[in-house]
Amino acid sequence: MINLLPPNLPYFICITLLLIGLYTMIIKKSLIKKIMGLNIFSTSVFLFLISMAYRRGGAPPIKAEGVELYVNPLPHALVLTGIVVALALTSFALILVINIYKEHKTLDSEKLTKL
């Protein structure tokens, strides 16, 4: 099934997600939706890194007899680190949003810039 898909499909999905994320961050007024946009944006980059590592017919990167082709394990390690960073960033941004709401009683970025 997976062999029927064009091999560069993940890259197109990645770019689409990237643009959706950027669009959300620029256009949406709600501070929470901007954070969602940021998450979509960074996830698209993770998808890019993972799809880059994939080899068609590649085995998991554990050394075994008679296996020649492995998928590249290094980008997965990068993505794990990236996810940890994104988690820290998102949780901190959400705490900021909670405090902004407590202080100003609104999450509309246009109203907040007028203050």
Binding site: F41, S42, V45, F48, L49, M52, V85, L89, A93, L112
Partner: protein, 512 residues
């Protein structure tokens, strides 16, 4: 095993250890956090002095973290440029930690002190890590470490508007760091390596440059957001002006410089001098944006009435000088640009410390109210004047020397850039001399207790016999101010000392 081999990692590790110990010490006694932070910053500063000396003597240090050989393991690469930057960062970081003690007591609640000192050490440690690493992905991780600490430090005082400033900074800068990760992916895709030296060797053997250009452009955009290059500077004025003053110093004097340093690394080390001829795709737009930043940053600064906002906009202009020098990529302009990193760090740190001292003692933020402060805080105001003169670029100070080199480099390229540098200096003279004029010669308005200074203007000193009249900041705040003011003056006369480091750094970068 000789301990001196491990100095590159010790510079970073002392601060990260301190960052973990500060909250633990805070559980026991909150008073312990400050001496702990000073100790770890001091150790890190001493290590970076030793590293700079040994780099100048023996050449580049390559340290393999955990004993793993590159390209598999993470490598720390210390050349003259990174040792020079690391010395600036650890020195001004140390001064900011020292300065924090009295300043921060009035700004943030007592129970947040351990968190504050922990974040302060994390941000300095993260910057030192970003300066010393020779691994592209590690550069991304270190950039995120100091960025997240910076977002938290901007909002730690919870003043009006600081949360929103921190949020805007977070959103924009995260786009930048995600671009850096994206570009790391592109570069890994075509070279199969993350080690900077390894990448540059493999890239020069590459035939199709398009994926490479893509990686380079994304990398430079990412770091341009970090370093507030002109059209991407919108997060800077709010974040830098609303943060507590020691944090403003770290952000304005160091964080944006580390962004500029990373641009140098990615253009000159990763892509290498061999590919530089073709990389006009990056250097030409950077040069023009930097020129626009010099002019518009200065013009915005003129219109500000809040002193810290004015200094923040001036930082936009000065990062323009640095990146203009780097973008022109000739020997003279690079020397000027990298030398200006030192001068702007000293000068802007001094100005923000002075503004913080005034804010701490009198609560004044508005430039108009600086009238007659020379009588109240003479030492602080002399330091303010010296640092401002250095940033404007008037001869005996160090700011003149770096602008002189920049001007030579700019003139070799085109008269337009020379005009930009001269015009930018004139514009910065407009807003700095307005403040200096108010401090020393301003007519006091007859309100709120500044009346007694009026008599000094005629040369006759009629000071009221109150001890309250001279109110210098406490010593922990005054000493950093004096050191920085002396530094930005003395390096203009003893100019050979910084140049003895900058010149080998430039030669190495340009591959000569």
């Amino acid at each position: 095993m000789n301990i001196s081999q491990h100095f590159p990692i010790l510079v970073i590790i002392t601060l990260f250890t301190g960052a973990y110990l500060a909250p633990l010490a805070g559980l026991w006694k909150r008073k312990l956090c400050y001496p702990l932070a000073v100790l770890s910053a001091l150790l890190s500063f001493l290590f970076s002095v030793v590293i700079l000396l040994s780099v100048l003597e023996h050449g580049i240090i390559r340290y393999h973290v955990g004993g793993w050989e590159p390209p598999w393991g993470i490598e720390l690469l210390v050349d003259p440029l990174s040792a020079f930057m690391a010395l600036i960062v650890s020195f001004i970081g140390l001064l900011a930690v020292v300065y924090s003690k009295d300043y921060i007591a009035g700004e943030i609640p007592d129970k947040k002190l351990p968190a504050y000192y922990s974040l302060l050490q994390l941000i300095i440690g993260g910057m030192l890590g970003a300066l010393m690493t020779g691994d592209l992905f590690n550069l991304f991780v270190m950039t995120e470490i100091f960025s997240i600490s910076a977002y938290a430090l901007v909002s730690i005082a919870q003043k009006k508007g600081s949360l929103i400033a921190s949020y805007n900074y977070l959103i924009l800068a995260s786009v930048g760091t995600t671009f850096i990760l994206f570009s790391t992916g592109f570069i890994y895709m075509v070279t199969g390596s993350l080690n900077m030296v390894d990448i540059s060797q493999r890239l020069s053997a590459l035939e199709s440059p398009w994926v490479m250009y893509n990686g380079l452009i994304l990398l430079v955009i990412g770091f341009a957001i970090k370093s507030a290059l002109f059209p991407l500077h919108t997060w800077l004025p709010d974040a830098h002006s609303i943060a507590p003053s020691p944090v403003s110093v770290l952000l304005s004097a160091l964080v944006i410089k580390v962004g500029a340093y990373s641009i140098i690394r990615s253009v000159f080390t990763v892509f290498g001098p061999g590919l530089l001829e073709q990389s006009g795709v990056v250097t030409i737009p950077v040069t023009w944006m930097a020129s626009l930043g010099i002019l518009l940053g200065s013009i915005y600064a003129i219109t500000q009435t809040d002193i810290k906002r004015m200094l923040a906009y001036s930082s936009v202009a000065h990062i323009g000088y640095i990146l203009l020098g780097i973008g022109l990529a000739s020997t003279a302009s690079m020397t000027g640009g990298i030398f200006h990193i030192l001068n702007h760090a000293l000068g802007k740190a001094c100005l923000f410390f002075c503004a913080g001292a005034v804010l701490h003692k009198t609560g004044i933020r508005n430039v108009e109210e600086y009238t007659g402060l020379a009588g109240k805080m003479p030492i602080t105001m002399i330091a303010f004047t010296l640092a401002a003169i250095s940033l404007v670029g008037i001869p005996p100070t160090s700011g003149f020397m770096s602008k002189f080199y920049l001007a030579i480099g700019a003139y070799q390229e085109s008269w337009i850039f020379l005009a930009v540098i001269l015009l930018g200096s004139l514009l910065s003279a407009v807003f700095y001399f307005r403040v200096i004029n108010l401090i020393y010669f301003g007519e006091p308005e007859h309100k709120s207790g500044v009346r007694e200074q009026g008599a000094e203007i005629g040369g006759v000193v009629h000071r009221q016999p109150t001890t309250d009249n001279r109110r210098e900041a406490p010593l922990t705040m005054l000493i950093p101010i004096i050191i920085l003011a002396l530094g930005s003056t003395l390096f203009g006369i003893l100019v050979h000392i910084p140049l003895s480091v900058v010149e080998p750094a430039v030669k190495l970068l340009l591959g000569m």
